[in-house]
């Protein structure tokens, strides 16, 4: 086997590999369509937080209560940005809760509820954001509100 033959085979080998990588890269990494779990380039405040970040747990619950019907009402328009922000606020809930005097069991319930909401809201064609789901959504919000200790410590988080 001469050197030239080996070199040609090597180049073909690398060529095939790079094409394979490119085939993987283009659909998964380089497509313009944002994935469900992807946070888009949000405007950040001076602390590097997205400007819609709630002040604390209760504020987050209030924001979700306001946002849900608005998303439901968005018919025939692209609501993906609103859903992404909604999901992000749900993700913040356990974090806000972890900065209170909450007990572990209660925190785990909040975490579990948030995971459930995220699962329901995660797919683009989710049926979660429909008026028929309003009752379920309210139930979730009520449960989440009840689990957090209503103490002054919460108010202090507004400094964040």
């Amino acid at each position: 086997m001469n050197c030239e033959y080996l070199e040609i085979r090597s180049i073909r080998f690398v060529g095939h590999f790079l094409v394979l990588c490119a085939l993987v890269a283009i659909p998964s990494g380089c497509s313009g369509k944002p994935a469900d779990n992807l946070s888009v380039a949000w405007k950040l405040d001076e602390h590097g937080n997205p400007d819609f970040k709630p002040k604390n747990y209760l504020d987050a619950i209030s924001q979700l209560k306001v946002r849900f019907p608005k998303i439901v009402d968005q018919v025939g328009v692209d609501r993906s940005e609103s859903i992404l922000q909604f999901q992000q606020i749900v993700r913040w809930l356990p974090e806000f809760a972890a900065d209170t005097d909450i007990k572990r069991g209660d925190w785990e319930q909040i975490h579990m509820l948030c995971q459930t909401i995220l699962k329901l809201a995660e797919t683009r064609k989710s049926s979660f954001f429909q008026s028929e789901q309003s009752k379920d959504f309210e139930d979730y919000m009520n449960q989440l509100s009840k689990l957090i200790p209503q103490k002054p410590a919460l108010a202090q988080q507004s400094a964040k």
Binding site: L6, L18, S28, G29, S39, G48, T100, R104, A159, K160
Partner: protein, 511 residues
Amino acid sequence: MDQSILWGGFLRICQATVQAAPFLLTGLFVAAIFRRLLGEDKTRNLFGSGSKSSIVKAWLIGMLLPVCSLGVIPVVRQMKKSGISGGTILAFALAAPLFNPLSLMYGLTLSKPWTILVFSIMSLLVITVTGLFWDRIHRQPEIQDEQEPLMPKGLPRIISVGLHASRELAGPTLGLIFMGLLGVGVLSFALPMGSLQNDMGHDNPMAPIIMTAVALPAYASPMTAMGQLGSMFQHGNSIGAAFILLTFGAGMNLGLIWWMIGNYGIKATGTWISLLLGVVLLLSYAIERPLYPADAEPANHTHAFDIYCQPFERGSTALAQSVKSKLKQDTQPFEIVSLEILAVILVSGIGLRIFDPHQKLETWLAKPRPDSSQSRWNIDVPGSVLGLTGLAMIVVISIVGCFAFYPEKNECMEELRLAKVEAFTAALSGNHTQVARWIPVCEDWLRRMQVGVYLREWSLSDYHRARAKVFQQWLELIEHEAEEGHQDEIRKLVSNADQTYMRLSRAFRTE
């Protein structure tokens, strides 16, 4: 040239030397074990050179041995002398510094441990492709150096291991290590203070390319790279850039590239590095979206890469004093011990090269001696068994080292409390230099506490992670406000962070 640039470069080189010391020491002894206890043939058998599985074996052995990209230099030199194929050597050289038991443990407690697992599988993919390619383009006969006779059992064999480590450090390895460290200095000359704070965002398509330019000459120990990865995941930085930081920042340095050029020629090295760059860059763009953590909070800037930039502002004064205090503050006790041992090895190596350049001492040690009285307790253990036991011991020690480096949670909590008091006192009194010093110490103990729990209980609950994360966020806020000098804001933050600390303490101690 501004003096601050020179002193800054000097500080960066010293910091890298200190970080590399324990790993370099390990690398020297691994190389000496290969040479003196295993011997060339057994070393080749260990890696299965020439066989199809040799690259995977090199990856696996590399993952277990705690060496960095500088510590791997004496090992790859010895592997070359043993006649192992280039593809296997390069696979080992690239894989060994990426992960070790300590850094893997750290990585698995990050918010997305599967990302680390994906990274390790991708590293296997990268080294397999580049290793197979290398063996195709560089199909040279595996030439091994003239075999030295194995040392007789007993004390001569043990002494010869130390002698080999000494001669190795005082030889070409030292030059290659210096070359690797020089890259760190050059990088700090080129990058002004804090210049990478805004470049690694997930939404910046250039982030992986910028990281490639930085990471190639940079040196990052496995632990540093893993710590930076954690920070990148948390702050929503580019995942592709994180993978590049791990592959090139931790896996390569200029010394290693120089060694490759010296041994395989500039054309083959250039081709291999180009392929490596192509594969790694393609993979990094491919994983950017699928691996991006859903709960990442994109930050508008990060301090994670400040260690590659100039540490001093232009026109700074009292630079020598600053360098001294920065080194004192950053150096861990185990790094000091490693540096001391390295110094002894280096001095003896220089002495040996000056006074015994023809290795007469080794020849004398290799002379057969009459057998001492054989008792049933004085068993003749073959060198290869000793060698493999030695390698296994290094792995065991690094696992035991995990328990020492990541102590039990109460100990971590106490250290965290002390560091927190220092940081908060400094913040309240407006001493921003001390804030910049103590906040990273707090963050370090916070991470160590989580890893320590994971190590002992094999799990870390989401609840504890969340408690730690919110305290980490308060620390970052205080650090940023201290930089800005907003004292009123700092007072509020410190009060809240103190409460969060109490909750964190309660959670880890009692829940």
